[in-house]
Structures are given as C-alpha cells and as structure tokens.
Amino acid sequence: MSKRKVGAAHMPVGECITQVQEILRQRFCRQRVPDRPGGVEAQHKHLLGLLKRTAVHGESNSVLIVGPRGAGKTMLLKCVLRDLMEEKEVQKNLLQVHLNGLLQTDDRIALKEITRQLSLENVVGDKVFGSFSENLVFLLEALKKGDRSSSRPVLFVLDEFDLFAHHKNQTLLYNLFDVSQSAQTPIAVVGLTCRLDVLELLEKRVKSRFSHRQIHLLSSLTFPQYLERVQTQLSLPDDFPDENFAQNWNSSIKAVCEDKSVRDVLQRHFNSSKDHRTMNMLLMLCLSRVSVSKPTIKPADVLEASRMCFSDAKANMLHGLSILELCLIIAMKHLNDIYEGEPFNLQMVHNGADGFFC
C-alpha cells in the first residue's frame, strides 16, 4: 500500500499520510483538548482560580458557563481541569462527579449516578432515605476524611444545565446550591449551558442560592483570527516524525489559506457561524479528500467541502422527484398561495393539477 518517495525521506508517503490523518482526525472528530486555549485566557484564569479555591482552600463555589453551541465550553472546562490536576494535593483530594442533562433525565437517576461516581454504593447499601436532601447529605458526610475533621472537596459538573432546570421541583439543583451555600462540605458546582436565559428557568429559591457567577463564552473572533485558527488547526505539530514532510505540508497549508478563492469561502463560513464545530466539519471534509495519490490539501478541496456544507437540502430532494410528483407539488404551491396557508387535501390538489396532465 505504501509508495516509496524518490529522494531523501524518513518515512514513506503512505505512512506520513496515515499519521497526518490520525493527528488531524483527533483534532476534528475527537475534539482533543489543545495545549493552550485560544482567545479565552481571561475565562480560563477565572475558572481556574475558582476551582482552585474549592479544591485547595475548601471554599464552596458555584458558577455557570454560558455560551452558544460549539463555543468551546466543554473544551474550556477540560483545559482547566487538566491544569488543576497538575497540583499533587488537588489530585489526591478532589472528587469529580460529571452529570449530563441528556442522560440523567430525573433526579432519582441523577442521585444514583452521583452515588456511583463517588463509589459509595457499598456505603449506601439498601438504605432508604426520606428525602433527596437526606440522601445527598449522607453521601457528602460519607466522604469525610479519616479524622472526621473535614470532608473531601467534590466538583459537580452539570452538562446541559438547562435540562436539569426542567426536573420536578428542581430538587437536585436546589440541594446542590444549598450545600454550596451552607458550609457543610466544600463543593463546587459548575454548570454548562447553551441558553443565555438560563437564570430565568431557575425557581426563586434555587436562584437565590446560586452565586450568580457566570462565565460567558461569546466568541469575539475577527476574520484574521479566524483564518489563523484555520491554519493552526490544519498545520502539523513540530514533533511530527518526518520533518521534511511536515514542513512541506505546513507551507502548502499556508499557501492555501492565502489563496483568494479560499479566503472568500472562509469569509462566507465566518459570516454564518464562527464556532469551532462548523469549522471542524469543514476541515474534516477537506481532510477526507487527502489520500496517498494526492498528499496535500489544495484550494479546490476547500471549495468542494464548502459546497457540500452549503448545499440546499430541499433543492436536492426536489431534484429527485418524478414529473408527476412535481406537478402535484406545483399544484400544492398554487393552492397554498390562493388560500394563504389554509389546509388542503389530495382531492383539491388533484383537481388543481388536472390542468398539467394532457
């Protein structure tokens, strides 16, 4: 499968391409956490400071990270957690519980998940608790260290936070925020949500216990920064095994990004959405056109990928209809226009389309 490239090369082209695909796919598909988060340094510092205070000094905190889909909330959190875990003390003490609003659709399920993630199933055993808060308090008590002086800090991460606000009575949220306000155990509650109006979803008693701390991830990228990000995403890292290949690749990427037609296309993408996900999708489509026979990305690839992203789905489906079906659709459109959106049935459409059939 691999071709030997003529000239001095450390690795054959096939191997290089495989490596490139591997690295870039980790970036686009798996959304690997980058070393340094771009453009969110202030938020990073804020969140890191907050969590450090909980983990090291035992101060309870709650914060909401708000940003549209694909803005990089989970990426920010993962970055911060990775930096946090570098400290030995934190690594030893901090417990993490990750809940997701899509999975834990009920407070009961959420509680079971918390028990499971804190590895306290044996401790709970077959106990029956009167209320949710009793259960939660019991769990947190059980985390007290050996000498019963202080409890281990717990970090609760609530993904899709707005879905938790739709549970009955918002019990989980109430209890978590309650514990974070009363100085029983040091917990940090971090919620991630895409809704800007999330605070209005909270009940009054829940809202009052929340610290009203919000971190907003509203992207303020300019177009040159966007272009740069595209270039960085596509470039190979310095530790690529074959330096020659990596250099050639990176310079070709630079040339592609400076090409006029590619810039226009990227401007169009930038105007419709600036977030990471749509960029990753576009770059993934470009990457899929890289193969052994064509080992670089060319401007035509970007144009083709963009065309695929922006293709009109309904027009595509209309293209595949037979003439008879098209006549019916035209008749339906006429009926819609004449009757201004009133409902119609097949008999009326058939009557209207009779004119088309010879």
């Binding site: 899509l102 999975l103 659709t105």
Partner: protein, 465 residues
C-alpha cells in the same frame, strides 16, 4: 418513441466500467480485493461510496461522531452502507427505528452487536439512556474498540417521536461513552426537520442523489433473465423507462414493473411471430399493456398473480382494470335508496341551506355573507361532513314523496347501510342518543342510484347551484 440500443457488446463495456469503478475506491487500511468486490456490488454509487469510505478513514482511526445521510426512497442508502460494512467486516449494529417501539430494543441491539449477549443482559429492567451509557462504558473499558464501531439507524425520522433526549444523545454518543463509535442516521427527510429546539451536535450531512435515467437503465439491466440476451433485455428496459420514467423514478417500483410485464413482452418471441431484434413489433405489442399497467403503479391493487392472469384473458374483454376501488352495483330496497340519497345530501350540503332545498315555502333567503374564503372550494373536494341522525330523517321525509311512518324497519335500514359501508358512523362512544353519520359513496354512485328512483339529485346539491 422507439429507441434502438446500440453499444459495444456487454462484456467489454462491463470490464471497462469495472476498472473505472475500482479506481475510485481506494483507501489504505482495507484489502484491495474486498474494495473491488464492494465496487462491483455498488453500481452507480461509486462517488458516494468513495466519500463514505474516505470519511470512515482507516479502521482504527476516529471518524466524525455522527453522519446524516438523506435521499429518496430506493436511492441506495442502506444498500451502500450494508455492503460497505459487511464486505469490509467492520463492527457495526444496524437498527431500524421502525422496530424500536421502545428504546430498550435499540439499546439491546447495540450492546448485543458490539459486546455479545452478556452485555445486553446487564441492562436493568426498564433501562434509561443513563443505564445504557453506563453499561456501554463498562463494556468498553473491558474491550476497547480497535476499529471504529458503527451504529446505523434506518428510518431515523421516527427518532423525532421518541423521548426528546434520545436524538441529541445519539448524535454525541462518541463523546458520552468516550469510545471510537460513529452513529450514522439514514432518512428520507431533510435535516432541517430534525433539529431540536435548543440545538444539538450537528452531524455531517451527506446527500444520495437520485439515479438518472441512464443509471436506472444500467441497474435494471442487471437482473435480466439468463435465457435472453443482454441487448434484448436492455431494449425492454428502455421501452419500460420511456413509458414510466415521467411517472415514477423509484427503483423498487420499476423493478417490480419490469418483472411483472416481461413475460408479456416475450410472448410474441415465444410464439415465434417476431425475432428478438425486431424492436418495433415488440414495442407495438407491449405498448397497450404498459399503458394499462400505469394504472397500477404503486397501488398494488391487484396481486402479481392476478395481473398475469388478467393479461392472459384480456384479449376478450376490453374493460379497464377493475381493482378493489371499482364498486359493483348494489341492489338496495326502495326506502334504503332514499335514505342513502338523503345521507348524501346531508353530507355534502351545508346545514344552513337545508331550509332552501327542502322546505316547501321557504320565503326569501337573504344572501348573507355566504361567500367565505373556503366557499371557493366545493364541498365535494373537502369530503363528506358528519351529520346527526335527526337531520338525516328530516331530509329523508322531505325527499320521499309518499308518507312514511317512522317504524323500526326504517331505522334498521340505516343500520344495514352502515354495515354495507355505504354510511360510516362517526359518533363518539358515549353519545348513544345522538349518533352521527357520514356518507361514504361517490357522486357517480349516487347519481346512478337516484336515476333508478327518478330523483334529480343534482338539483338538490349546493355545489351545483
């Protein structure tokens, strides 16, 4: 309308196309001959197969978390995926959402395909999505994925009717379970109709375009009968497409029609009247049959066996195809006919016009705001409206010229009309003293009936004023 197919002999054409196809399907990480077999099984879908293959990448590499494939019915979506996944022996779970009445079936199927039946039995009694993800994570930590796992969900539009959290969770399944898994959704409906309110992880959208006429010809020519030559069959397909292409482009339907009508096409050949290159005569023979077959496209009103039988005896009769929709004339007693006429009038005339039609001295009818917007649509297009029993009887008494006593025999005739399905009962369950009915016969039928009792129904219908 006669097209004579000229071309190189079949074998050379086929081998040229084979090399062209396999040149497109190249991907490191998979064996050459498997890819060749895949290319042979997927005629006219090489572009899409190539694109899918390049997105899938090498087996151990990650792929995009979710892909959404849309296209018309019978455009090859499931076929391409099945061939790719089976021939290349990739770990996959195919689930049809029609079968998954409850999510449990989906979870079990996925766990069964990837981890065996022990994993499926680990699910608790009525598992939630949380349980599924937990069990999956457990299993996957024991047996991590060496190759990308694919979950293919057919008829994905039915996912919109399940719990609101299922679709968004499936789209980001790769992130939730932290495993090398890709979810592929197949649907005939565009993605814009799927998107949840608060957004979700957007999948990669792929379109499978419809087949062009040439491609349909190529695919249909593949299932030819071995005892006939390829040119003969492709000339038949040509004729068939010429008649049906403007009406129907669905590959499945066209295959059915081709199979159904082929014996009729070969009849003159079997009888020795025509040689197989004499396309003009063959066309003249088959043309009326294809026109008749046009009435049965998609309908399957007559089974294939019946159709063939009818073909054989059709020289004697010249009537149209009588499927289930052709009523045979029903003989009704005198008063039942009038009851049916009264029911038809009650269904298709608006209630406020009854006074004008059926009361002897109605005085002046004010032309009030009769012309509402939907007055333009005749009631016949909108279908029959329900009417209460009292109204039916009132119209009946005014329509029948002799004096009729309201005996039980009249009421029992109404019940028998309902049994004959000429009237339909529409009342809600507990309103026993105010039943409502609808008239279920067509205008032609009721005209025929009213002619037999010398009643001019058209004068009494509001739409024909």
């Amino acid at each position: 309308m006669v097209v004579v197919v000229l071309g190189a002999p079949g074998t050379i054409l086929r081998s040229v196309m084979r090399s062209k196809m396999t040149a497109l399907l190249q991907q490191p990480g998979y064996e050459e001959e498997r890819l060749q077999r895949v290319a042979e099984k997927l005629p006219c879908r090489d572009v899409q197969a190539g694109l899918l293959l390049s997105l899938m990448g090498q087996p151990q590499q990650y792929s995009f978390p979710s892909i959404f494939i849309y296209g018309h019915r019978a455009s090859g979506k499931s076929h391409v995926l099945q061939v790719l996944l089976k021939e290349l022996e990739l770990p996959h779970a195919t689930v049809s959402c029609v079968e998954c009445v409850s999510v449990v079936l989906l979870f079990e199927q996925v766990l069964l395909s990837f981890f065996g039946c022990d994993a499926a039995s680990l699910l608790p009694r009525s598992p939630s999505l949380s349980d599924f993800v937990r069990v999956y994570r457990q299993q996957c930590s024991q047996s991590p994925a060496k190759q990308t796992r694919y979950i293919v969900m057919e008829k994905a539009e039915l996912l919109r009717d399940t719990d609101a959290n299922l679709l968004p969770a499936l789209l980001r399944l790769q992130e939730l379970v932290e495993d090398n898994v890709t979810v592929i959704l197949l649907s005939e409906i565009v993605w814009d109709k799927f998107r949840p309110n608060t957004g979700c992880f957007e999948p990669l959208l792929l379109h499978f375009p419809d087949y062009s006429k040439g491609e349909l010809q190529q695919i249909l020519s593949q299932d030819r009968h071995p005892s006939y030559s390829a040119e003969f069959y492709s000339s038949y397909i040509n004729i068939l497409l010429g008649v049906f292409y403007s009406v129907c482009r669905d590959l499945r339907e066209l295959r059915h029609l081709a199979a159904l009508n082929f014996s009729k096409f070969c009849e003159p050949l079997a009888e020795g009247k025509v040689k197989d290159t004499d396309t003009h005569k063959l066309w003249r023979n088959i043309e009326p049959h294809l026109k008749k077959a046009m009435q049965t496209v998609y309908l399957r009103e007559v089974s294939s066996l019946q159709w063939e039988q009818m073909q054989q005896m059709e020289e004697k009769e010249t009537g149209t195809v009588r499927g289930l929709s052709a009523h045979t004339h029903v003989e009704l007693p005198y008063y039942s006919k009038f009851l049916l006429i009264a029911a038809y009038l009650a269904s298709y005339n608006p209630a406020r016009t009854d006074k004008r039609f059926f009361v002897k001295h109605h005085g002046k009818i004010k032309k009030t705001n009769f012309l509402k917007k939907n007055e333009k649509t005749s009631n016949h297009l909108l279908g029959p409206k329900p009417f209460p029993l009292d109204r039916l009887l009132a119209i009946f008494y005014s329509v029948v010229d002799s004096r009729v006593a309201p005996t039980a025999s009249i009421f029992s005739q109404i019940s028998s009309l309902v049994t004959l399905q000429l009237l339909t009962k529409v009342s809600q369950g507990d309103l026993l003293d105010a039943p409502k009915f609808k008239c279920a016969v067509s205008l032609d039928f009721i005209c025929a009936i009213s002619r037999t009792v010398n009643f001019e129904i058209l004068k009494y219908l509001y739409d024909f004023l």
